[in-house]
Amino acid sequence: MKIEKILFPTKFRQSALAALETLSPLKNAGLREVVLQYVIPRDEVGFVPFGGYLKDEEERLREETRIRFEGWQHTLAAHGIESKIVIEVGDQVPSILATAEKEKVDLLVVGKKHKTGPEMSFVGTHTMQLITRSPVPTLVSKHMVEYEDGGGELVRCLNDRIFERPMLASDWSAPSKRALEMLASLKNVVEKVLVCHVIGVNISKNLDKEGLHRLEKESHARLEQYCARLAAAGIAAEPHLGAGKSALEIIRLSRENHATMIVMGTTGKDRIHQLFMGSNSHRVAQLSELPTLLVP
């Protein structure tokens, strides 16, 4: 699972270019090309009430975007990375997913929103739709974030070296294994991988002490297998076992061990399941201040 081609859709929010630059180390792991995409919202130029279509406005937006992207292309070229521009009118989510499919990218990188609202989520509705529906690994990039720590204090966090200490949170599923393989391909990028597993409340509550010990032992063994796979790829790795509410425990472990990114496997959930049950990977993407790479 090498990352050779990345799709980077943007709305030109603050620090979008800085977020793009954090991907440049991937050049050492085989990154060749970045596809820069801007979707002009159809409602911005189309369906003028009783009017029609603002063709001039579309052309102006295209030119404005092209000029901005050309600056970004110079930056990427300085890192030795090729790039391509896609500017189109449409709806954000379907346009991005269609481009990801058409360009056959290996990674989709999406931005965060400001952590606001009662849920205090870093993931907006568009990003949530993308990470739920994307058939390719999706990185929720969070270059500069502010969040409240446990004591209610506002903490500012700059995620500029995201590939240094990624933490792979595994539930031993097939997507988790694919996430492991993706990390294994990043030999010249990653310093150390933290491999963790959380014995979730849903499982531990049904086990007696003996059963729990058995599960703990088994989990340690699996963690060692993951670490061994990474070691075989030439990447240092250390195991961590946690217990409790999965999403919160993963975030706690990531903070305690100074992770720079969280990597998780994710299963596609349908709309109804997503609405009522959610998923741990999506929850982590929403709540963690760290960039989150979700591998389907």
Partner: protein
């Protein structure tokens, strides 16, 4: 007079409830200015300041509505509040629910497949759209077929005339057979015109659609030959033609059934905020919303995305029409007062069915056709039955002078095609065509090059055949 003075000075006038007829005789002529302003805004802003209009049309609509509602309420107090609530609850809300449900349900149907635009196929698509329009609304039929038509003809050099005829037929003329087809006819239905009475427009529909389809075929054949196309291009990708989300036709049948039901039964009345509404109408609105919800639940999101479905057009209609409906209250009231009202000169001038056909039509072309229909329905009722309750006046008009209602209906629906601003789907079709790279004529280009020469001739023929 006192009420009129109160309106002018923005001072309290007589308070009365349900005194609509009395209001019509006392309202001054200038009370229709916000309505004129609202309609002129719709006509002129998209031409003169499209970017401003695109971003601020909601504020413009609300401003005109307030400009009417505040002084009217100050002058007529309870009666004004009643009239505003009445037009919102009895006309605006059902109108919006019907449009919204038809738009939602038809947005869940996707026509896929490798269509290759030939004169025969294109004429067939237009004919199907023309027939469907009366059953799924002109907006629904237009949204269903415009993208497949554009895709099928992507290889053709001349596509503009196709979209223009699509606007003529699918977005307008096709909607003339049922109250579901075009908003003016649904407003007529809400005022008591029976559902199946609209079938009386079938001869007019057949004449107009027949002439336009024949003309279209020969236009297309001419361009097809001139483009030197001997056979459809084979790009190697052949996808069988199929309808996805066709179960939405069931929900569409539910919409038709709900509207029919409300016209056939009388279950008594309920009072909502003091406005009496037939229980069957409230049930109909509930069923329409239910059909839209079913469509949303059962139609996969990807299918709507493939249709480029967006709520924006229906939001626009909702925002603009609240302004239209509120500002049109004085106009309707004055016209309903007949010779007693300030628009007696208009009622006196418009006497024959042919007058109604052309005046309703021409105003529908440059204003929106829904309020224009209501205005001239009120004019006819004011002329024949001044002071008579609305439902009774409508039934008497149908029984005693049906040609007038036919002329108003045909004028409102057919002439909506004369300009881009005549009917809501016109601008949606234009927008989609331009986005897809089909050059469309300007407002005046459309009018002078296409609609006046083609539709003008058709309407003269319709007048001579049916209204002289």
């Amino acid at each position: 007079m006192k009420a009129a003075l109160s309106f002018l000075l923005v001072m309290p006038g007589p308070a009365f409830a349900g005194g609509g007829a009395e209001m019509g005789t006392s309202l001054p002529l200038y009370s229709v200015l916000p309505f004129a302003g609202m309609l002129l805004s719709i006509a002129l802003f998209p031409l003169l300041a499209p970017k401003f209009w695109h971003h601020h049309f909601g504020k413009v609509s609300v401003a005109w509505a307030f400009l009417l509602a505040v002084p009217l309420t100050v002058a007529y107090r309870g009666a004004a509040v009643y009239e505003i609530l009445h037009i919102v609850l009895a006309d605006y809300v059902p109108f919006l629910i019907l449009l919204g449900s038809l738009y939602t349900v038809s947005g869940g149907i996707l026509l896929k497949g490798s269509l290759r635009g030939t004169p025969g196929l294109n004429t067939g698509i237009l004919a199907i759209g023309t027939i469907l329009a009366s059953w799924m609304g002109t907006t629904g039929a237009a949204m269903l077929l415009i993208r497949p038509l554009l895709r099928a003809n992507a290889h053709r050099t001349n596509r503009t005339f196709m979209v223009v005829f699509f606007i003529f037929l699918v977005a307008n003329v096709g909607g003339s057979l049922t109250p579901l087809g075009d908003p003016p006819l649904f407003l007529g239905f809400l005022r008591g015109v029976p559902f199946f009475w609209t079938f009386n427009l079938a001869p007019h529909f057949l004449a107009a659609a027949g002439i336009l389809l024949t003309l279209y075929y020969f236009f297309d054949r001419h361009y097809y030959r001139r483009e030197g196309i001997t056979e459809a291009p084979d790009d190697g990708v052949k996808e069988p033609i199929r309808l996805e989300g066709s179960y939405n036709f069931l929900f569409l049948a539910g919409v038709v059934g709900a509207v029919l039901l409300s016209g056939m039964v009388h279950w008594g009345e309920v009072s909502i905020l003091g406005v009496h509404r037939g229980l069957q109408d409230v049930v109909r609105d509930g069923l329409l919303v239910f059909m839209a919800v079913l469509s949303l639940v059962f139609t996969p999101r990807t299918l709507r995305e493939a249709n480029a479905f967006t709520w924006f057009p229906i939001q626009e209609v909702a925002i603009l029409f609240i302004g239209i409906f509120i500002t049109m209250i004085p106009c309707l009231k004055i016209l309903q007062a007949g010779a007693q009202g300030q628009l007696a000169f208009l009622i006196a001038a418009v006497r024959e069915p042919i007058h109604y056909f052309w005046i309703t039509g021409l105003l529908s072309a440059f204003l929106d056709n829904a309020p224009t229909y209501l205005t001239f329905l009120s004019t006819a009722m004011g002329g024949f039955y001044p002071g008579v309750a609305e439902n009774e006046a409508v039934m008497r008009l149908i029984n005693e002078n049906p040609l007038y209602l036919l002329a108003i209906s045909a004028g409102a629906v057919f002439f909506g095609a004369l300009t881009y601003i005549g009917n809501a789907p016109n601008f949606m079709v234009r927008s989609i065509a331009e986005e897809a790279g089909t050059p469309m004529p300007s407002f005046f280009g459309y009018l002078l090059k296409y609609s006046l020469p083609i539709l003008g001739s058709v309407f003269v023929l319709i007048s001579l055949i049916f209204f002289v």
